[in-house]
Symmetry: C2
Subunit: 273 residues, 2 copies
């Protein structure tokens, strides 16, 4: 396979365009070179990036693929007319039919995140991240009534990254609490969680996978042994069943999939987006 380059051109961070472009490219077996060019928001910068793309296209002997999110129509026009790559306009492709449908024109406001740093939505996201960090791994039982979700599960079942993802992507205040051998002996969830059971959500994991993960951390420990992993997982699952806590297995799921399932199932009141 000869070389081929994919460009992501945006007037903002280009993160949305690149993530979306990647999920489209994942449908193909080819592995092109990726180049991101964020903050392309002046005529000069567009000309510079057009020169770069045209040079690459000539060198490689095949059109570069150019995923574009440019709001300014002047900048977009320069790119579309002068660029020798294959331009995929991710924005206007959908903006134009929506303008017709809504019967109004769009703002042509640059960048999803422009000036967002002072918006309520952004402040809430940062606050959610701070909350989730402060309530990681049962560190604090303070202000649990403010939590939107409390993840529970045995150590290394995926609670921490899922909590942080919920906070960062969705502005959800996600606390997490480990279920530990003491809880299994008492046959009850940690006392501080009892008043908040309705917002608890459990993560479980296949003992074999848990054993692998724990062995990376503490090789050959009792903690990581398959017998102990089997025991803890079985105890945690029966506790969640007994307490009526919804749960899912993180074994074959990414944090995105876990987070999406949690949001679908418990529908926190304050879903940001």
């Amino acid at each position: 396979m000869l070389n081929r380059t994919v460009y992501f051109i945006s007037d903002g961070t280009g993160i949305t365009a690149e993530t979306f472009g990647n999920s489209i490219l994942a449908q193909f077996t080819i592995k092109p070179r990726h180049v991101r060019r964020p903050f392309i928001d002046t005529v000069d910068k567009v000309h510079q990036v057009v020169r770069e793309i045209n040079h690459t296209t000539e060198l490689e002997g095949r059109r570069s693929i150019v995923f574009v999110t440019l709001v300014d129509s002047e900048l977009l026009a320069i790119l579309k007319t002068q660029c020798k790559g294959m331009v995929l306009d991710m924005f206007n492709t959908f903006i134009e039919p929506l303008e017709t449908e809504f019967g109004i024109t769009s703002n042509h406001r640059v960048g999803r995140f422009s000036d967002i740093s002072k918006s309520q939505e952004y402040t809430d996201r940062i606050e959610a991240i701070n909350f989730s960090l402060a309530h990681d791994d049962g560190q604090s039982a303070k202000n649990l009534e403010q939590a939107d979700v409390i993840l529970v599960g045995v150590s290394r079942s995926g609670k921490t990254p899922t909590s942080l993802y919920l906070a960062m992507q969705h502005g959800i205040k996600a606390a997490n609490y480990p279920l530990i051998p003491e809880d299994f002996e008492r046959r009850a969830i940690p006392a501080s969680l009892a008043p908040h059971k309705a917002k608890c959500f459990g993560l479980t994991i296949a003992p074999e996978r848990l054993c692998e993960i724990r062995n990376e951390r503490r090789p050959n420990s009792k903690y990581a042994s398959i017998e102990n992993c089997r025991h803890e997982v079985a105890e945690a699952e029966s506790m969640m069943r007994r307490e009526g806590i919804s749960w899912l297995s993180s074994t074959h799921k990414s944090i995105e999939e876990i987070a999406t399932t949690i949001l679908r199932d418990i529908r926190p009141d304050r879903l940001m987006y």
Copy 2:
């Protein structure tokens, strides 16, 4: 403005589609109701969601907007032919021209994250999150040679959320270290950072904004006073200038914008995507 509903229909989490759809809708002044329907991966589920959309469209008297990422052509065909909403097919719109350009057909593989939980990319992201957590706020100087980036700056300048974002979104191992009064007195960056100066990146912030943020945490403290904030910020900036560390101001920037700028400027070797 009458009611209007926007649906995000996906066979996976739908997160990419929703984030991207939101950035398109942000170009319009209308504020439609958002409904996400993830994991729509069977004929039955498609029929159910079509009934829901058609019902909404009838109730509201205007077509629902339906952002769709469905890979399976049978499911997509049902939706396209039977749904009375306005279907915006975010996937095939770009897949089809790319199939022509590449001269190959696409995989029609469902979901960007399917079975990703065991992939190297996913493992690396989780490892980066764990690394960033373990190296938050100068907690550990261990394994700093493994860091891709080390953020430095005064307390509450935005280092923690930016580090976590770099890890979660880009699989970047981002440590962060506070610059504290002791460092300013010694007129030198923390000793453990000295060997790693090339991967340090500074965050600064307007003293007025810093004062606001710190006052939320510790109202009326010396720590939060405008005089102290001015002093710390001036000291930190002159230290970074002296040490030759690149830096930017987080005052009017979101974590996405800060992260994108960092990646553009220091180009860590192992950029995941």
